[in-house]
Amino acid sequence: MPQITIDGKQITAPEGVTILQVARENGIDIPTFCHHEALEPWGACRLCIVEVDEGGRTRLVTSCNFPVKEGLAVTTKNKSIIAIRKMIIELLLTRCPNAQAVRQMADKLGVTGTRFPIENEFCILCGMCVRVCKEIVGAQAISFASRGGNKTVASPFFNRSGECIGCGACVYVCPTQCITMNDVAEAADVYSEGTEQVGYARVMNNWRTRLPLKVCKSCGNPIAPEFQLQVLAKKAGLAPDALDLCQGCKE
């Protein structure tokens, strides 16, 4: 098992883990914005930057995806690391001055304001929604679109997503709460010829997707998106009518 030091502290690290994992297990705080323990490291926010010393050669690396190895000496705080983290959070504060999570992180890192002209975004493009949809849910309903300054997260062609099961994992994981969904009782399609009632539906506001909710055969209350239940039944190998009742009626 590799012997490493973090901020001078001797640590025996397990094989094949990252600096961030070891640091957190040992109570050493490294700020992160795009890291989630259930997801693969992404290395995009760059807040978790640390300095590593491998046999005399030092360099700055992101701790969330740098694998520990024998003899590694890690510094999590020094003058340039602090300057870089401050600049990164200042850049994020410029982009999302009204996002609570960004403001809290800025406070934590001692940044009170920004010297750049502000924008009014809420998404910090941490990619957690995209990754949770791909890695955990397996739906791949959303992805990044465009590049550079125009980069954004979107459903295919900025239109209704045919893969979204309305599970809400993206809503749950979003650190700045800029993804929302809500269930409505009387959804309807309005055409020039007239209005067609859909009934209960789940609306994924960011992905322009609306999924009709299945109602319980017995009590008539909504259970979950019909498409989600179909996907789950297929995955679990259940009979098509296995998920026809709500939890209350089943019991």
Partner: protein, 634 residues
């Protein structure tokens, strides 16, 4: 017919020789993209038509680029037993006269550029002589190839066949000594010997990084794992650059041969060529080259009877600048979004589909057959202490003769600029030059004393990049140049990591402050602070080098930034800071500006100085451009 022995290769060589040196007149027209843009396609048709009309027997062959971009369309003619003569420019209108002269006397002295007595060949022990015996008097007044200053400075390794062979003919490539290196490698050398030779040659990556090719190959060969890949990058995205495009269009087989040898050395059975969709002609010729190589058994199973199997797949990319970065390129090959990932584990160990992968760029691969054929010692005899071989350079911007050249490493930029680029156009002054694209730097004219060398350029703060040289004269504003490159990066950043995506946006805002005259000393400090974070914290080299042009512009042209703080743009480029006025003392009242103004902001009677209405003026500069006496000032 499959080639399975050296004898087969020799037979094909003879066939190629017959094509290269036919009994009739061989007319070779440059047809790389640069040539086609200047009308080479129409010239070919015109020559065909005219030759038929005048009953002039000849074979017309499309070839690659000979590098004289300012003389396009260029045509070279070989008459049996006479020296090969290059002509240019030969436009469609010139063709009737040109063909007539050829048919009558065998030479068109009016358009002749230079003559070659023998074929340019690196491999032939005895280069083929076009003219038998001594030079006859009728050609003596045409400059000899060896006396042309443009070629004197050059050593052609990658471009050795460009302009001589038909890029769509494998036989002609073989006749010039092609695929002999492959035959040598797979039949006489072990993979380790090939790697040893490449390492010994000190060849360094020509994509910009300058990493030792041999070391990279060794790491990839030694990496654990079964499946291995060799990759070729044909995606140069820097503004003002087209060397690799031209190389691929002129001689696709040399790249392919290099890649196959690399596959043999590293132990890969599969190669991928990632080509930007901006290179349709290169793609077409490359695909043709692969088809031909497959038909002859130079690709596929049991190559040349050695038991080595190798196949190549071409993958078209969308042309994103960031896809020149190795991990982004591999993501693109895998069908994912072209975003880089951290390289804490090298791609030589874990690259494409998590297998050991070796990526080199077109020019690096094109060097490989020559190193194997001529040996590492020959190759490392060219160049400087640490930078060996040659570099293909595209010279553009404010030069008299924009061109494509291949010079030995260590050539001073002064020579590249003055002798190959022809110096700065009349009435202008060289202010700066740019190398390495948006990741490189801008250097002041006095630094032309630098030599073309990885270390020397690194010390000066720029890099070689993929090999573009852009001359910038006194009409350009350095703040505007910094703005241009930053704007380019906003569009080309992949947007994954915060320092690059958000940083470049802010950097552009800060520079724009200067272009509209509200920049301050604090803004310069903020640029410095921002640049530090971007350089240190960005995920890939695109972000790390993104502030480089801006920083060097500030370092070497601080006076211009200071002038902008005072609300002045010395070069008269930044529109918000310029106000045109007409000097009545200088004005000759010719009326040219009145006619040139697209918005009728200039009015006046003949014989008197015109008046300019600044309310209407859109500051396009058309009036300034047409004024012969420089009466319009900013």
């Amino acid at each position: 017919m499959k080639i399975s022995t050296a004898a087969d290769l020799e037979r094909l060589k003879q066939e190629g020789h017959k094509q290269l040196h036919p009994d009739t007149v061989r007319i070779m027209v440059g047809t790389a993209t640069c040539c086609l843009a200047r009308g080479a396609g129409k010239v070919i048709k015109a020559i065909e038509r005219e030759a038929a009309a005048q009953k002039f027997a000849c074979t017309i062959v499309p070839v690659g680029c000979i590098g004289l971009c300012y003389q396009e369309p260029t045509v070279e003619v070989i008459q049996p037993g006479k020296p090969r003569i290059a002509y240019g420019p030969v436009t469609v209108d010139d063709v009737p006269e040109f063909v007539k002269a050829l048919a009558a006397t065998g030479v068109d002295k009016k358009r002749a550029l230079f003559r070659s007595e023998q074929e340019y060949s690196l491999f032939a022990a005895e280069p083929y002589r076009y003219a038998k015996g001594a030079v006859s008097d009728e050609f003596k007044d045409i400059t000899a190839y060896s006396d042309v200053p443009f070629y004197k400075k050059q050593v052609k390794i990658c471009l050795r066949n460009a302009g001589t062979i038909n890029p769509e003919s494998i036989e002609e490539y073989i006749a010039m000594g092609g695929y002999a290196a492959l035959a040598k490698a797979v039949t006489q050398m072990t993979p380790d010997q090939v790697i040893h030779e490449v390492t010994k040659s000190n060849l360094r990556g020509r994509g910009g990084g300058g990493f030792s090719t041999g070391k990279k190959w060794t790491e990839c060969r030694k990496a654990p794992g079964g499946q291995r890949y060799v990759l070729c990058n044909v995606s140069e995205g820097d503004p003002g650059i087209g060397m690799h495009k031209s190389l691929l269009e002129s001689d696709p087989h040399t790249v392919l041969e290099g890649l196959i040898i690399g596959g043999y050395a590293i132990g890969a059975a599969q190669g991928y060529i990632y080509i930007s969709s901006g290179y349709p002609l290169g793609l077409k010729r490359l695909q043709k080259a692969i088809e031909q190589a497959e038909a002859y058994g130079l690709l596929g199973t049991n190559i040349l009877g050695s038991g080595f199997n190798f196949s190549v797949t071409v993958k078209e990319g969308g042309g994103a600048y960031v896809c020149g970065e190795s991990t982004a390129l591999m993501a693109g090959l895998e069908g994912r979004i072209g975003e880089p990932r951290p390289k804490y584990i090298h791609t030589a160990v874990k690259g494409l589909w998590d297998s050991p992968s070796n990526l080199n760029n077109v020019e690096t691969w094109a060097n490989v057959p020559v190193i194997i054929n001529k040996g590492a010692d020959w190759f490392s005899g060219i160049g400087t202490g640490s930078s060996k071989g040659t570099k293909v350079i595209g010279i553009s911007g404010s030069v008299n003769t924009p061109c494509l050249v291949e010079v030995p490493m260590g050539t001073p930029f002064k020579e590249i600029f003055n002798e190959l680029g022809g110096g700065v156009p009349a009435k202008r002054k060289l202010k700066a030059f740019q190398t390495g694209g948006p990741s490189g730097g801008v250097l002041p004219a006095r630094m032309l004393s630098l030599n073309l060398d990885y270390e020397e350029m690194g010390k000066a703060g720029t890099n070689l990049g993929s090999g573009g040289f852009i001359a910038i004269d006194n009409r350009a504003c350095m703040v505007d140049i910094a703005r241009f490159f930053t704007q380019f990066l906003i569009e080309e950043s992949c947007g994954k990591c915060v320092p690059c995506r958000e940083g470049v946006k802010r950097l552009l805002q800060l520079i724009n402050n200067f272009t509209i005259g509200i920049g301050t000393e604090e803004h310069l400090t903020l640029i410095k602070e921002l640049a530090f974070a971007m350089e240190k914290a960005s995920l890939c080299d695109l972000g790390k080098t993104a502030p480089s042009v801006v920083q060097y512009a500030i370092k070497y042209f601080k006076d211009e930034f200071e002038a902008h703080m005072q609300g002045q743009c010395p070069a008269g480029v930044c529109k918000d800071l310029i106000f045109y006025s007409i000097e009545s003392k200088v004005c000759t009242a010719c009326g040219a500006c009145i006619r040139a103004c697209p918005v009728s902001a200039i009015s006046g009677e003949p014989g008197s100085t015109p008046t300019l209405d600044m309310k209407k003026c859109i500051k396009c500069g058309a009036c300034k451009e047409v004024c012969d006496v420089e009466a319009i000032t900013t």
